[in-house]
Subunit: 202 residues, 4 copies
């Protein structure tokens, strides 16, 4: 059974690594037409800041998700079919994140920023649901978790995932009116998680 | 020999994971030209439903195939060259599935839906043939299967693969006339497999 | 040192798997413009045969290369820097093969077939050189090979790689005049290798 | 803790392998329009030398980075959160290198070569910073390094990374005026490292 878990982990790692790396394909090489000069290329490269920003944003997000996913498996003593499907849904969403990232990069400096941001935050809500499902499938009635994990820890993790869900939902709602605020809420959540993780491990 | 099997498995897993993740590249960012508004972007994002649907469809299909492939190796005590080629053909088809998916996404809401659906279901027929070949190369005269696998199990699995083949063939034939019905048959087959798998493991 | 070898193998496997799967991206979805009908889509899909052919060709080629590369490592007791660079050159060429494949797919049914075929076969010559270098770096003065590998085996493998090199070189030269013949020579070589491999393992 | 390190290594290897292989997607198939002849295709293929050059350049760079990264982990007895983030930043930059490579390929033979080269060398500066951060997070107060690694070795490696940083910075500054010289400095640095590595291992 141990080997089983390892293979699911390795497969998920593969999908995370590929989804992460494919993000770069969304930064498109600017076409200066016939007449390219240093000034024009410099302007074009600087003008691509929305693409850099979106790349940085999603790379960080997926990386944090991977670290989280990675930590997740340490709690498990085995996996079952329901867990496999929850994990499959999570991988689907991790792969999908490439698309809202591209949308964000293209429309962040246009009047359509609200929808672009809402689409991005909305995808994060779905990812959050995937994590909640994953935890539910693993920890409900302690189905798959190791014996040494106390109930206190289980409740704590569950609450952390619920917290994430509500924060993302807020970000989603707000971004229809204040798109930048929506994105900032997501970023703050990631910083908070990272800091928490850092504190715990120290 | 054990290590050999592991490496083939890892390589196949890699191809599955990449084929799965590349599916996202087929969802193209809509181009709103000069004048982008929230309304137009929202309309464009909703208008992309064929792409989301095709992505969801093929992601699920490839994931189920992977779980199946994954279970497959548990029956084997070794592998040989014929098995390697059957597996190679399967990986070819798993990789190929990206293309009929893109065709489906593009033509699902056009008068060319029949051919798009037939092309998709037809690719599933080929994948089904690959699985049949894989099982034949492994189980014919019990060549590669472990001793603890009874003949009853072997026949049962063989029949399951044959069943899949005929269902896909039916879906293929039907989709020329009723394209949506063809796709639905494929989806029902996946749900059936999933349920079966779930029942077995419980 | 054993672990070192394993990691190089795993990394190479990753590059092989990705290069293999990326081939699908070269099959482009046909654009039927505003007016798409079943007849037009069917015609378009059939008209893509050069892409299917090139995909099939290169997928098979890379898969056989992988099986070969995979067998290669069984002879080694350790690796060194020179081997690493020869392996790096091989991975470069395996990755590169995507491009001549795309060229072949695009120009196989045009008057530019000669150059497209020569470019493809020429890339195979380079791959062959990479394999020769790899074997030289491993087997010269028995530097990296295991003790149980006899000198007879070493010479036999060396000759097989040299043979491949000359066959590819012939295919390259011929394809300037008879492009299809050049490709056929490559394919015959792969079938021959496969058959040889099959015989050996039986 | 050992297993932890192995998984980070495997994940990083995956990102390196994918980033490496994706480079090929930047070589675009030339479009000869309706009238393709052997002469025109040959001219077009030769005219793509900037793409081949950029591909070769970055493939080599990423491969050397991988070998280096690979060697890095041998010094570590464990990893912590700070190391994980430094490693994440490195992976971000390794993934990003695809983009400056594409820029270089497109603008190397235009008047915008200066900016293209500066952008490429500038990215190398960032990669160098990532390696310095990685080493700092590992070796500062000997936090993560194995006990058998002497202080002399630590200082030596630190200096080597600092040296790389200043060379890249020089290349970056020079490429605004002499773009080719900037690239040559980068290449010389890689040859130097390779040679050094070769000497050490012999």
């Amino acid at each position: 059974m141990e080997r089983e878990t390892t293979r699911i982990e390795a497969f998920s790692d593969g999908v995370f690594a590929i989804a992460l790396t494919l993000l770069i394909l969304e930064i498109k090489v600017p076409d200066l037409k016939d007449f390219s000069t240093n000034e024009k290329l410099l302007t074009a490269l600087i003008g691509l800041w929305p693409s850099y920003f979106a790349f940085l944003l999603s790379f960080t997000a997926v990386l944090i998700m991977w670290i989280n996913h990675h930590g997740f498996f340490k709690y498990l003593r085995k996996i079952d079919s329901a867990f496999l499907f929850a994990n499959g849904f999570l991988l689907l969403m991790v792969t999908f994140i490439n698309f809202p990232t591209a949308i964000l990069a293209k429309y962040i400096d246009t009047p359509a920023f609200n929808i672009a941001s809402a689409f991005y935050c909305g995808s994060m809500v779905l990812i959050s649901i995937a994590y909640n499902l994953l935890w539910f499938s693993a920890a409900f009635k302690r189905k798959l978790v190791k014996d040494e994990i106390t109930d206190v820890v289980i409740v704590k993790i569950r609450n952390a995932y619920w917290f994430g869900f509500f924060v993302y939902l807020t970000a989603f709602a707000i971004s229809f009116i204040l798109p930048l605020a929506g994105l900032l809420i997501c970023i703050l959540l990631w910083i908070f998680w990272t800091f928490l993780d850092y504190q715990t491990k120290k």
